[in-house]
Amino acid sequence: MESIIPILEFKKTCVSYTKQTMAVKYVSAAIERNTITAIMGPSGCGKSTLLRAANLMHNLYPNITVTGEILLNGENILSMEPIEVRRKIGMVFQRPTPFPTMSIYDNVLSGFTLNGIRLPKEEKDITVERCLKSVSLWDEVKDVLNKKGTFLSGGQQQRLCIARALAMKPNVLLMDEPTSALDPVATKHIEELLLELQKEVTILIVTHNMGQAMRISSRSMFMYLGELAEYGDTATMFSSPSDERTKSYLTGKMG
């Protein structure tokens, strides 16, 4: 079963902020399990909007409507409870957002505490260690777990946010330009991490950076003015794009 049904599938997904304009227009795409899929495109093309539709972030804003279907393991999330969906589909944002009033330890467990789930102390310790190790932050922070997460560097904060999302054991991890606020070294670190993480979680990443898409993703989407212009293997797309718009973007004729 698992191999036949895609883990996440957009079916004629549309997102509109106002009645007149659509930010995402009839996007249909199936995301493959345990891959990194990059969403590329110029600013304002709807990549973040599409990504945010996948964990019902748009539900927070009454003026935004999402239509069509988005299937998680074959089930339409648009008719599911947002809380359930968001526990299965994690998200990492552009700017690192560790909760400033919580320690590093509590930040990793914030998904549980926010949902009112109480874990025994032992399980907490195991979860914190597992998650921080999987984002290779454990060695750097294991002695300062009770310090505030905001004392860490930008790259460390972003890895803490990834750890926080992983603690909920999501099926899919959505990432909205997670390295655009970071320096090159921290970016490289996160990229290596994502390549490692795709073994346990399917990653959908919005990126402005074509080099990044090429380095880490196996599949790529190219969006233009709200439409999905092209979707395919990253290597193929970069070597021989089939869509004119993709071609002019990748060759730098269009920004």
Binding site: L60, I83, E84, R86, T97, F99, P100, T101, L114
Partner: protein
């Protein structure tokens, strides 16, 4: 040349503020000195006598200090549930909607109503209600004054707290939602802790206001010079005793009133300073 003149003019006008402030403190000190010297500073603070029989004058500030502290404390307690609700209503739950805008405008309007109006309303509307509820026979007293004070500071606290709630970054809230938190959980576990120090400081500033509020309290507290023995009994606050008696007072009694004014000034200044410092810290973090 022109630039220099401009600077001198600016400096001179800016200098007026510390001069006025220093002048006020100096006048308070010199005029209060007679009372402190006659009774002793500590004795003055802790004595509850207030009698102006010629030849055996006894003045102590304790009834008024306790009246002020009681009304202020009660007012803050009454104000907390309402101001928090309004703050979260306009700052989070209905933020940006028409109803929140209307509510915000009305709140600001309430904050601008002169205290004599609140006093009149309290005297002719609230006092009869308290009498008809059989809470106290005369209607006026610490409770009545506190309720009115609470109504006066609610708009002030809620609009200030609402600003702090709005300052919680959107990223942080979305981060919490993305982990599957509900609205109530985001409010309780993210917004409240993050905005907490700011919200708290708005209460500290409100305390500063409530301490010095004169007109409303004078009209409603009952004006008896005793330590209130319950929240329904009458009393006087530091501000209200001064407002009530300064016109007919002279010599030692006037000096005692001014001494009470000095104490009120010091308490209010300290509370305000703490509040401002906390707001600064809340903004930085």
């Amino acid at each position: 040349m022109n630039d220099k003149l401009y600077k001198i003019l600016l400096f001179a006008s800016a200098l007026i503020i510390p001069l006025v402030c220093g002048g006020v403190i100096y006048a308070l000190f010199t005029d209060a000195y007679e009372a402190f010297q006659h009774f002793g500073f500590l004795k003055f603070l802790t004595s509850s006598d207030w009698s102006y029989t010629q030849g055996d004058e006894q003045y102590g500030a304790l009834p008024f200090i306790s009246g002020t502290l009681m009304t202020t404390l009660l007012a803050i307690i009454f104000c907390i549930p309402f101001s928090l609700s309004v703050a979260f209503f306009t700052g989070e739950y209905f933020r940006g909607t028409k109803i929140a805008t209307v509510l915000g405008t009305v709140t600001d309007l309430l904050a601008g109503i002169p205290s004599i109006i609140y006093g009149l309303w309290g005297f002719y509307t609230l006092r009869p209600i308290i009498m008809s509820l059989n809470i106290s026979p005369q209607g006026s007293g610490v409770l009545t004054a506190s309720v009115m004070l609470a109504i006066m500071i609610i708009p002030y606290v809620s609009s200030l707290s609402s600003e702090f709630i709005k300052m919680v970054p959107k990223d942080l809230k979305e981060g919490a939602y993305s982990l599957g938190a509900t609205r109530a959980e985001v409010v309780r576990k993210i917004i409240f802790p993050v905005a907490g120090s700011g919200i708290f400081s708005s209460y500290v500033l409100a305390i500063g206001r409530a301490l010095g509020e004169t007109m409303t309290v004078t009209m409603l507290i009952g004006n008896t010079n005793n330590i209130p023995d319950s929240i329904t009994s009458t009393g006087n606050s530091m501000a209200s005793i001064i407002a009530n008696q300064f016109g007919e007072a002279s010599d030692l009694r006037l000096s005692s009133l001014i001494a009470i004014g000095l104490i009120l000034f010091l308490i209010t200044a300290i509370i305000n300073m703490i509040g401002k410092m906390m707001i600064k810290r809340a903004r930085i973090s």
